[in-house]
Amino acid sequence: MSDTQNVAEAVPPVSEREVILDVRDLAVDFTTEMGRVSGVQGVSFTLHRGETLAIVGESGSGKTTTINAVLGLLPGNGDVTSGEIFFRGTDIAGYSEKALRGIRGKHIGLVPQDPMSNLNPVMRVGDQLAEVLLAHGKATRKDVRGKVNELLARAGLPDAATRARQYPHEFSGGMRQRALIAIGLACQPELLIADEPTSALDVTVQRTILDHLGSLTRDLGTAMILVTHDLGLAAERAETVIVMNKGRIVEQGPSAQILRDPQHEYTRRLVESAPSLASDRMKPINPGALTGQITEMPVILHVRDLVKEYTVRSHTDGKRKTFTAVTGVNFDLHRGTTLAIVGESGSGKSTTARIALRLEEPTSGLVEFNGTNIAHLRGRGLKTLRKQVQPIFQDPYASLNPMASVGEILEEPLKIYRLGNRAARRERAMDLLEMVALDASIYDRFATELSGGQRQRIAIARALALEPDLIICDEPVSALDVLVQAQILELLMKLQTELGLSYLFISHDLAVVRLIADQIVVMKAGEIVERGAVVDVFTSPQHEYTRMLLDSIPHIASRGTAG
């Protein structure tokens, strides 16, 4: 970070440099079944050589539509209806596909959002990079191999020559994103558009990728548009921030100013609810949380020496091997409190959650729920357990049956357990809707008609239907927008206080965990590396890995003082 500031001071002020991109009063409309719908309206901004501009907004805010318009990649039903897009002095808004081809990749590079889906799976990574160089005359058939290796190495891929001959599925997510960065910067474009470049990656990888992206663009003098939903990240990485909401720019200015002194009401709400900016557990605070009484509450979930092994077939020689997903995991979840398990993908946190739900059986170890070992529970006992332990999953778009109405979704658990008659079940469903602050009229709607936040409320209501004691939340807010995240977390807190629920909260996001958890367990490669009360772990982390996770949260404060 200090790096960014030093360089920024060394070169002339941004505003005196050449203007790379000048968007004036841009409007995009979409033709839909319901007629013309406005995508973005009145969007204007200017970007100078070497400047980094962040566009921040929630899904549907128009940030992606804006960059698609600049790239000329609007979907078939979208049109630029007014405004100009001056790229190095020429209006490219009306350019033909053919004319745009000479600009894309060569003068404007793109680093797309999801590294898993943005590389062609049947083409060698090196060939995908070579293709761009050849298409824009930046290499010849003869020297393209060397250039590809050089670019991959510069993007931070070790052993580039070998990597160039591999296919995307042989790369990790972070490595794929490095390859995509190499492709985006291959022709040394004047402008690089990075569309949520790290939101699909683990936090610790995010930081190194963003650092690398920053230093590459700085060295090449490339201007960058960073599209993100994370205000903290935007402020840390960009000089200027644009905040978009419902297709319009609601606020723009220097990043420090926007964070310190947001003018627009929407921006203020964003700043307040950005989890990376908060510093305390959410209110209402659990009475026991601060006084250390948590451990005096009865233990609802008691896990000892948990081990889960899978037999896998090796990729290289086809031999069967034992893969240890979880080993030596111990923790106690106390009634009425929240225990968070934090870790990156592959840390074993989801496996632990599935064992606690008794969706899987552990290889060895003890899992006691209310004093009963549930590790290998079957039959009637399992059916009783299912009633007392309920899940909430990450993606409310996938976890709700699209063919069922909200009423059917909420009444299904009651039907399975033969609770009440038709009228009683309906009444219970109405009560549940009220508990999660949804209108009763939603009862007859289908999940597909609802927003992400509404869907997750339905998923929570469904989990509550059988009056469980323990709810296992597997990344319950990571698929949601920032403002919605805050609302869902608030709802979970309120329900915990009212119903005395216990939460086992699985997350990769330490910032979210800080808001909701009393106790925390940090997992890495299947083992617990640190545990303790949230306050302690956040203020004085003992393990190096925990410190690294904490450092990966974009911190506003450090940037805010830099101006």
């Binding site: 797309p112 889906s117 824009h136 086809g318």
Partner: protein
């Protein structure tokens, strides 16, 4: 990768064995024994017993099965009840014609079907797309023999452009022989291609549409690649993998269609041989022909799997067994 190839070959062998076994027992379950036709209504139990003994049909079924497998491994498929010539010889005479018909139908379906499917996906509601919708529906709705008869009536009987039946005229040599083979081939080929091209091109279209909507295709466009490079290198190379698998599965349909087509056009391949053998209750011929067709389909599927191995790098590095 070796594991993949070995497992596919193993599965192919198993599939052939199952097909052979089913064929053997199925034919023996049919009502009316093989002697019915030979005795031609004469009621002579002694003669019948002698015939059964000659062909080994008086043995218990399981012994017959063992004997049959043993002979089959040695390439002996028995003797035709009707013509008394070895079954393998009869099949060998007829097989080239079926291979020519089904093979060229397969190739044309591929060569025309893939670009048609791609063109339909790239420009929705364009001319190729509409043509494809017509072929797709017509191909599904039409019964091969009805189409064949229609083609015969118009182009052979009425217009006289093509011969009515057979595979080649007698007493021709050299270039005339080739010309004669082609003119005999066109109508049966046309009916086969007509039926098969729609479903195949539609699959290519569907896969292509899906792939063209993929993130990596958008990314390829964002890199300023030409639309040809995007469609063929990034689009088709991905869309063609499921299409190839389908093609392998459809091969059975193609062979089945060939049997019917051959019958209508009196094309002297395996199809019309089966038709004739059914009428004559010629069990050894039927048995041999079924086994041959089963082997052909299994081999084609094996080939499909190996082609997929070339097309899909994930299979090659063995992430999926």
């Amino acid at each position: 990768m070796t594991r993949y190839v070995v497992s596919r070959v193993g599965r192919a062998v198993l599939a052939v064995w199952i097909a052979v076994t089913i064929t053997f027992f199925l034919l023996r379950l049919l009502p009316g024994g093989p002697t019915t036709l030979m005795l031609d209504g004469v009621n002579d139990p002694a003669l019948e017993a002698k015939l059964l003994a000659d062909y080994g049909l008086d043995q218990p079924l399981i012994t017959q099965y063992g004997l049959f497998l043993w002979q089959l491994i040695q390439g002996n498929l028995g003797t035709s009840f009707y013509s008394q010539s070895p079954v393998a010889e009869v099949l060998f005479d007829r097989m080239p014609w079926t291979l020519l018909l089904a093979g060229s139908a397969f190739l044309i379906t591929l060569v025309v079907g893939i670009p048609l499917g791609v063109a339909a996906a790239v420009k929705r509601d364009g001319l190729p797309d509409q043509a494809l919708r017509f072929f797709g529906m017509a191909g599904q709705a039409m019964f091969v023999p009805s189409l064949a008869v229609l083609l015969l009536a118009v182009f052979a009987l009425k217009l006289g452009w093509f011969p009515i039946g057979g595979a080649v005229s007698s007493f021709v040599e050299g270039p005339q022989y080739v010309a004669s083979v082609i003119s005999h081939l066109i109508l049966p080929l046309l009916s086969l291609v007509f039926i098969n091209i729609g479903p195949y091109a539609l699959t290519v279209r569907t896969n292509m549409l899906q792939v063209l909507g993929a993130d990596y295709v958008r990314s390829a466009r964002a890199r300023g690649l030409s639309s040809q490079a995007v469609i063929w290198n990034h689009g088709l190379r991905n869309a063609v993998i499921p299409a190839v698998t389908l093609m392998g599965l459809q091969l059975g349909t193609l062979v089945g269609g060939a049997v019917l087509t051959e019958t209508v056009f009196a094309y002297p391949g395996i199809g019309s041989l089966i038709y004739e053998a059914v009428g004559r209750q010629d069990f050894p011929i039927l048995q041999g022909a079924f086994i041959l067709l089963a082997i052909t389909v299994v081999l084609a599927n094996l080939l499909t799997d190996l082609v997929c191995l070339l097309l899909d790098p994930k299979l090659r590095t063995g992430n999926r067994a």
